[in-house]
């Protein structure tokens, strides 16, 4: 054995160092790679649950009509029935979870209506759009239109 390694001892030591390095690497991997990595693919399996657990900020229209049945009925019978409540009233998951915790503010009709209905060349031609000056000379939209069912007269 000694004859075999004569004049090669330094190489044996280098090889030993490399081997030690590989062992350290393997051990480090076993300790440091997060649990569940590779469960579904090349990623940490727990990441799916992390993303899913983010809080919901918009409740969704189904939650609103559970309590607000009057407005809900009027809305479902009119031309705005395709629009979610929160599109105008803002994100209200907090309110749906606990109505007293967050009271939604009434949206400003004028700016809100025009944000969709102001005439614009790029909007699809079939979409109802008006020039606010020509149509009611800049007057308040809810004078003639029920905001929840705009093809109907506003509620008295």
């Amino acid at each position: 054995m000694n004859r075999l390694f004569k004049d090669k001892e330094h190489l044996v030591r280098v090889a030993g160092l490399f081997l030690a390095g590989i062992v350290v690497f393997v051990v480090a991997r076993a300790i440091l790679v997060p649990k569940g990595f590779g469960q579904y693919g090349h990623y940490r399996g727990g990441a799916l649950a992390d993303v899913r657990s983010k809080p919901v900020v918009y409740a969704g229209r189904a939650a609103c009509v559970e309590c607000h049945t009057d407005e809900g009925d009027r809305w479902k019978g009119g031309k705005h029935k395709g629009i979610g409540c929160e599109a105008c009233h803002g994100a209200l998951a907090k309110h749906a979870a606990d109505p007293s915790a967050l009271k939604p503010e009434k949206p400003d009709a004028k700016t809100l209506c025009l944000s969709c209905h102001a005439v614009n060349v790029a909007k699809p031609a079939k979409f109802p759009q008006i020039d606010p000056k020509a149509h009611m000379d800049g007057g308040l939209c809810t004078t003639c239109h029920d905001q929840h069912a705009p093809d109907k007269e506003p509620k008295k």
Binding site: Y43, R44, V51, V56, E86, Q129
Partner: protein, 254 residues
């Protein structure tokens, strides 16, 4: 056409309402666990995508605002999970004129005069949730990935912030969140759709131009829609397997 739209919306509404109880169950189950034993939501049952109808988009920017609110996206004009572009296509010009002030967050003030022989329209953009995603291919560590149910997600605790995925996305849908120095992008409101809700952008779109679709659900109206409409994906030559389908997409759209 309007009959189709009503049916579509009615069916979508029914689907949404029916999955609310499942959502409540899932919420209870998912709270505080890494991987629930028997989840109400099963990834294998779903394969998510989206349909965007250019003929319906009015460029109101509601989706951009809703997304930033729902997903806590930085408010500056350099970070968007979704944005809207306005195209102005003059048939005599080789290139379209495109603008997207603050991503369409505040809508689009009128810029063009009617009757100028050009056509204009709005194009909402978002992550295309590619089935052969070039961005997940280049991630060096596995911090971004395609989930088994077809959403491309980001693991914020694992991302290095190397920005390679941002370079690899052909659609420009990724950005680095300066607050966490990790990558962020539209993840199809994964936290919502796995609870039976729709995405924030679809929820707040007033015209139904954006619709979440589940390609694995035989009852999803997307199958009929894809069969009866001429749909496109963005940059098909890149073969990314994009799952956001655009109806009535003009050839000038980049």
């Amino acid at each position: 056409m309007s009959q189709d739209r009503r049916e579509f919306l009615a069916t979508a509404g029914k689907v949404l309402v029916l999955t609310a109880p499942a959502a409540a169950y899932w919420d209870a189950l998912a709270a505080g666990k890494t991987e629930p034993a028997e989840p109400a939501y099963r990834m294998a049952d779903h394969f998510w995508g989206m349909v965007v109808d250019i003929d319906k988009c009015i460029g109101c920017g509601g989706c951009v605002r809703a997304c930033k609110t729902e997903n806590n996206v930085p408010p500056e004009p350099f970070y968007f999970r979704t944005w809207v572009e306005r195209y102005h296509v003059d048939p005599l010009s080789e290139h379209p004129e495109v603008d997207s002030l603050n991503g369409g967050f505040n809508g689009f003030p009128e810029k063009f005069a009617p009757g100028d022989k050009a056509k204009s329209f709005f194009v909402p953009k978002l992550c295309n949730q590619c089935a052969h995603s070039p961005c997940t291919q280049v991630c060096p560590v596995g911090a971004t990935f395609e989930s088994p149910d077809g959403a491309v997600l980001v693991d914020k605790t694992y991302c290095l912030g190397c920005r390679y995925c941002v370079q690899a996305c052909p659609y420009g849908c990724r950005f680095i969140d300066p607050r966490t120095e990790t990558v962020d992008k539209c993840n199809l409101c994964y936290h919502r759709i796995t609870k039976g809700l729709t995405t924030a952008c679809c929820e707040n779109c007033p015209t139904g131009a954006r619709q979440l679709v589940d390609l694995k659900d035989p009852k999803d109206p997307v199958h009929e829609f894809l069969r009866t409409h001429k749909v496109h994906v963005l940059k098909p030559q890149m073969a990314t397997g994009a799952k956001v389908f655009y109806n009535a997409l003009d050839g000038s759209v980049r």
